[in-house]
């Protein structure tokens, strides 16, 4: 204890979490943790390997860009994760895990006692064992049953019924009756049945919750925070970094090339070029001059821009889109999951059956005690184990299969909705296309030109330079020795190669005045080489579109881009397209299709797709999407290919087939067991066997989905 210096505790430390997707091995953990531990201002750093995140306790002087820089120096890319995502992440899973642990412990011990009773314990021993079971079961039911009681109560209060209503009534009634049985020295106590039922159902809930957590973690580690803040030019000419929510109108922010604007504003120092694709879907960069209005979320392509902020935080165009999204998402919350839909039919049937059996036995002249016992046995036997366990079991196996296929599904309800779609709308920029420029071809470059181009391009964060850098490195080009490389914003790069000046930059106006997606490489004593770039169509896009059509899903394009830019993509993929659509237009288009009874799948990436992603029956975003897009979508697919979209729908449809089979199994099992229960032949032993038997069958059936990805 005394080892800690007193001063350390006195400084208020900040806690930040950063996603570091590059951590892949034990050596990476050690490298990051040791590297950060030696960094001034860092108090402690701990890597979480499962989620590829590092949690850092640091002094307030260190801001997020500094931490990012520190990790970059160690050799890893890092992205800060907003606190809202970090907090309260798995509190639900934790409380479910606790409830499951308690139910499991109770079920095992009660089973131990019950087996002795079933083996023929009588008299005082049986009473003692029943009493012990009661002492374990009653607190366990009260503790572990809370998730069900709470949900059932809230459903009843709103005049609805869900799966938790028959579960709660059944468990409570059975526990109460068994307690009475114990106190009156009766032969049959169903404590084991009640607790085991809770245990199985909690396992189902837990699987559901695990699935959501895993997808959320996956998405959180992908989150690219689009401009979480900006560097602000102070009065005294010094700059400081401020997070986006502390930006104020009137401040001047400096936006380097390759970064996104954090607030709306007016350009002060320009000119520059902006990529608006995230906001409008337009693929061609737009020139901006001093005095023009620019919006948050756009990407600065050229040299550093000075922007005087005129709207920040909740007043930006982005915030408008976010509000539209919130409204759109409400329509989705009306979706009723299949288990609850089944429960709407199932619960009244089970309840009336139990009441009828009670009435029947009373009329037949049995005592009320015996009649109640029969009714309780009916409730226990019919309790929807298959509904509670089969659906989440099938869905978590499917989610695991999908994850291996490169699709992260957010929750079980998303899987159900994905299986129902019969219409698909695609955004163009970033969804059907990759969303970033790639060189059209590198043929004009010979060996020497390639190495010079690579040497120049790798030092810059201009999107075209980065595209060239990636493409050349993929081809195995070796950088030439180019010295004194300088970058002139808006013009290009220059350096000294073998004593002469070489440049890579914007082509002459004469060569292409309108096309900003081009660069020219000038090496002395050679003609300049013009390199063209374009945003290529995703690999597998054509195959994916054909596959969707075969599955009975009609695809088309909704794009915010101009018709001329959409036409080539639409032509190549054989799709019809609507162009020039604002986020609100996309929302209306989806509304019209839904009103016509179609279930729309929206595939999109940008901020402008956010409301449409939220409103559509189901939605998928690529991992390269804006964080708004990823948050709004039901599923995120990794990699460049578009084929995972098809896989997601195919596997979700298969999952629903398995779920329906499980329901059929459950109904068949009930058809066998209910007559026995009505006849009063179900003893606690039979109930326990039937319950575990049916659970094992539905879980085994769900496991068949493991191979669905191939």
């Amino acid at each position: 204890m005394t080892a800690h210096p007193v001063t350390e505790a006195a400084i208020p430390a900040l806690h930040s979490v950063l996603a570091v997707p590059g951590i892949r091995c034990a050596a990476c953990i050690a490298k990051v943790e040791r590297g950060l531990a030696g960094f001034p201002g860092v108090i402690a750093a701990r890597v979480n390997f499962s989620s590829r995140q590092v949690a850092i306790d640091h002094l307030p002087e260190l801001d997020l860009p500094a931490l990012k820089q520190a990790i970059a120096e160690i050799g890893f890319d890092a992205e800060p994760i907003p606190n809202s995502v970090v907090e309260g992440r798995d509190s639900e899973t934790r409380s479910l895990l606790r409830a499951t642990a308690v139910a499991g412990f109770a079920a095992m011990n009660i089973m131990l006692l019950s087996v002795s009773v079933w083996s023929g314990a009588t008299g005082g021993t049986r009473d003692l064992f029943h009493l012990l079971s009661a002492m374990i079961a009653v607190p366990a039911v009260l503790y572990s049953g809370r998730p069900f009681f709470r949900s059932a109560w809230s459903a009843l209060r709103h005049g609805r019924t869900n799966m938790d209503v028959p579960i709660s009534i059944g468990v409570t009634l059975v526990t109460a009756l068994s307690l009475y049985e114990t106190l009156t020295h009766g032969p049959h106590a169903y404590f084991d049945g009640a607790v085991m039922l809770l245990f199985f159902l909690l396992v189902g809930r837990l699987l559901d919750s695990f699935m959501r957590d895993r997808a959320r973690l996956g998405v959180a580690s992908l989150l690219r925070q689009t401009a979480p803040g900006a560097r602000i030019l102070g009065e005294d000419g010094r700059t400081s970094w401020l997070p986006a929510d502390r930006l104020q109108p009137g401040m001047t922010m400096l936006v380097p090339a390759g970064e996104r604007l954090a607030a709306d504003g007016i350009v002060e120092g320009g000119p520059g070029a902006l990529d608006l694709s995230l906001l409008t879907g337009e693929s061609a960069p737009q020139r901006v001059r001093s005095g023009e209005v620019v919006h948050a979320g756009t990407l600065n392509l050229d040299g550093p821009l000075q922007v005087r902020i005129n709207a920040a935080g909740r007043d930006t165009v982005i915030a408008d889109i976010a509000r539209m999204m919130e409204q759109a998402a409400q329509s989705k919350s009306f979706y009723v999951r299949i288990a609850d839909r089944a429960a709407r039919l199932y619960a009244p049937a089970v309840h009336s059956l139990a009441i009828l059996s009670f009435a029947g036995w009373m009329i037949a002249g049995a005592g009320w005690h015996q009649a109640l016992m029969v009714a309780a046995a009916v409730l226990i036997i019919t309790c929807p184990c298959a509904l509670g366990l089969a659906v989440p079991a099938a869905q978590i196996v499917a989610a695991g299969t999908l994850m291996r296929a490169g699709v992260l599904v957010k929750d079980g309800s998303a899987l159900e909705r994905l299986a129902e779609v019969d219409r698909a709308l695609f955004d163009k920029t970033g969804t059907l296309t990759l969303g970033h420029p790639e060189p059209v071809d590198l043929e004009p470059l010979d060996e020497e030109a390639r190495s010079v181009a690579l040497a120049l391009a790798r030092g810059s964060c201009h999107p075209l330079s980065q595209a060239l850098h990636r493409a050349l490195e993929a081809q195995g080009a070796v950088p030439a020795e180019v010295n004194r490389i300088e970058e002139a914003p808006g013009v290009g790069l220059r350096g000294i190669y073998r004593g002469c000046i070489v440049t890579l930059g914007r082509p002459d106006r004469a060569a292409c005045d309108t096309d900003l997606l081009a660069a020219s490489l000038v090496i002395p004593e050679r003609p300049p080489i013009l390199l063209r770039f374009k945003d290529p169509i995703r690999p597998g896009a054509r195959l994916a579109i054909r596959a969707l059509e075969q599955m009975g899903i009609e695809p088309s394009i909704v794009s915010g881009d101009r018709a001329q830019a959409v036409a080539p993509v639409a032509g190549e993929l054989g799709l019809t397209a609507q162009t020039g659509m604002s986020p609100a237009d996309k929302l209306t288009a989806i509304g019209r299709l839904s009103d016509a009874g179609q279930k729309v799948l929206m595939v999109g990436d940008g901020l402008n797709d956010g409301p449409a992603l939220a409103a559509a029956h189901a939605s998928i975003a690529p991992a390269s999407a804006s964080d708004v897009g990823q948050n709004a979508a039901d599923a995120v697919f990794l990699g460049n290919s578009l084929l995972p979209v098809v896989k997601a729908i195919r596997i979700s449809r298969r999952t629903m087939r398995i779920v329906r089979q499980n329901f059929a199994i459950a109904i068949a099992y009930n058809a066998l067991a209910i007559p026995l229960a009505l006849a009063g032949l179900v003893t606690p032993l039979v109930a326990a066997l039937a319950m575990s038997g049916s659970s094992i069958i539905v879980v085994a059936n769900a496991l068949r989905l493991r191979s669905a990805g191939q």
Binding site: I29, A30, F49, S50, L97, N109
Partner: protein, 49 residues
């Protein structure tokens, strides 16, 4: 039969200990990073200081 008076409380106590240990481990964050824990044993401690 007298053995039961000893064995049943003992069995329950053992079970409860296990349950308590699980709760403690969960609150302690032992399950937060399942894959990382397996990898950490490979890290050399010599210069961890």
């Amino acid at each position: 039969m007298t053995g039961l008076a000893l064995l049943i409380p003992l069995a329950l106590l053992l079970g409860l200990t296990g349950l308590g240990a699980f709760f403690w481990a969960m609150n302690d964050g032992q399950f937060d990073d399942m894959e990382g824990a397996a990898l950490r044993i490979l890290i050399d401690e010599q210069d961890a200081g």
